[in-house]
Subunit: 394 residues, 2 copies
Amino acid sequence: MSKALVSTQPYRGTRDFYPQDFIKRQYIFDTWTKTLTSLGYQQYDTPVLENAEMYILKSGEELGGKQLYSFYDKSERHIALRPEMTPSLARIVAAKFGELNFPLKWFSIPNCFRYERPQKGRLREFWQLNVDIIGLPAGGVDLEFLYMTTKLFEDFGASPSQFEIKFNHRQVLDKWITNNLLTNHKSIIYNLLDSWHKTDLDYKERALQEIGLNSKQIKKILSIKDDTEYQNIAIEFDELKLIFENTSVAMPNVNISFDPTIVRGLNYYTGLVFEAFDTNTNNPRALFGGGRYDDLLDIFGKKAPAIGMGWGDVTMQNFLDNWNLWPQNLERYTEKVGIMPFANSDLIRIYKEILPKLQKEKIPFEIDYDYGRSENKRYESLKKRGCTQIIKIK
Amino acid sequence: MSKALVSTQPYRGTRDFYPQDFIKRQYIFDTWTKTLTSLGYQQYDTPVLENAEMYILKSGEELGGKQLYSFYDKSERHIALRPEMTPSLARIVAAKFGELNFPLKWFSIPNCFRYERPQKGRLREFWQLNVDIIGLPAGGVDLEFLYMTTKLFEDFGASPSQFEIKFNHRQVLDKWITNNLLTNHKSIIYNLLDSWHKTDLDYKERALQEIGLNSKQIKKILSIKDDTEYQNIAIEFDELKLIFENTSVAMPNVNISFDPTIVRGLNYYTGLVFEAFDTNTNNPRALFGGGRYDDLLDIFGKKAPAIGMGWGDVTMQNFLDNWNLWPQNLERYTEKVGIMPFANSDLIRIYKEILPKLQKEKIPFEIDYDYGRSENKRYESLKKRGCTQIIKIK
């Protein structure tokens, strides 16, 4: 036995999926796929490698900058590992813009790559469910999209008490900022809202004092969640009114609420934005997030309204762990037959009689070839390999 | 409409999978998964990113060198996109060597990356079915493994006339080379056999003259396929004898033959090697290949006998195309209901009455929100979206 030349550990921030881990990941992917297929969505995929410029131009400072895995290939093309799916989706929709039959209801479960410090819920390689409807402007479809997100919970057996959905609207926020003469401080306000639940009142107050706001302005911002002016602007938007009026019918019992602190960073979004949270407070990170981005295709010179969302496999696993929602038996088969020949000459019978019968019923099997060992040991070995029935060939 | 800033083409040698393409790829993956599960194999996965040294040490000149996508991450770790799955498999098996319950019957369907000139059957990103049995020495299990490969054809509806499997044995070849005093020319002979069907007699003869062989030696090598000495060495190997004696029972009707020209490059293999071919000559590249590699885990300081194979999604697609083996209807659903409301106030009825019914039966739906258009146009639009039945909400 020689000395190890290379470490057996996976690259930092990535995971190995042994069969017992793979089966859990696959359960999530299969459930997502089943739910979305039953709602009329179609699956697509794109390459892991993309032109790096696409992210540098479109994905913002973090994803398109310090978190981007990019390098030059052997013919000096600047390429990157996708940090998110949306730019690739925009690219392939733009590429066949004239041929595609809009609206598109599409989903994908890509692995994405981000260079960051690995921590709970954040890894360097993760999978992310991406769901999008492209080609329909804001209106009834936004409600349909929120309805879809609740079905994703339902099909994992989650009860409405285990999660909540919060939504906001970029144009409402922007109008409120304008009305309150805060336009010059828009990006600070966005940042503050984005980290609303991660910072305390003191921090927020100081941040607003630092940019020179007066105490009346600061009070206004700090009470944004209960601000009647904010609510009144919201109700004037037909597309939000539609959501307010229909959620209790479309999503009965689901805890869904309008929340001015939901902004989803600085990128992309042009209308509705939303996030979902685990009501178990040991899991504070958003489970998924999304919103309307009507400028999705602009860097490709096309125009189509769109709404989309992303849900990572890591937060999904955490949610299922928290509420113990994993099915009892994740194995793909329940019975497995062990076969115990005693010499190579017994193999003929196995292939002639045993396997054709098992294969007809799609019953998996294990063959023990260790003719020299005691029957007892061979029996134990087949049992350990998962065999519930053992056939001796004698 | 603005000008495109970024190309909509995928990176050279990679593919976009629109829903109609995705569904074909998924059919292949699903069929592989179903077959292997029914044979008792379990699925695993590993990260796309790995320590580059692993390939440089183990994957040989091509995969570990000029074809390797490698780069340094932001903390100067030398990482690579996996060009093949085998080193990762070896790594994760070595990592839990003491805990795993051998033998392992495992499979995976990873995407792999190779920097090469894109051509028919070869791309820079491709998926590859990898199947392995780890922990059993040569013997009955090699026959079981060949049997498994024929099941992979069967479950796609392929008939035995559409493919052939050829096998050889590294130790037979090496013994024959030694017996004929050709040990100094081993790597040339391996290369010549590896490209046997891509080169003509003249080329082979010249290559052998160039290294100074005499005409008797050259004649011996050129007639290796029919050489009785070669066949006699083979029969002396118990593990080959077992295969010779059982193939007609284990794989009735399958065209499987012993062929001294099958060598599988220079890497890895220590015993049985095999390849499968499309009998349709417009598809000359091997469909899959594999063999026994008992030194699989050596760079990780462990020892376990193993046999494995790999089958690319591109050659699989070519095979299904060639013989028209795609199922008639690849869609995941056959019926889809179109819903036509006439005002936002109709949405309540959709969510209250229509969708709960459809969702109960998992029948997918499309809703048309274009209240302003003529009924005829809306009807056509829903039909184009795949709806076979249309419900008007009035």
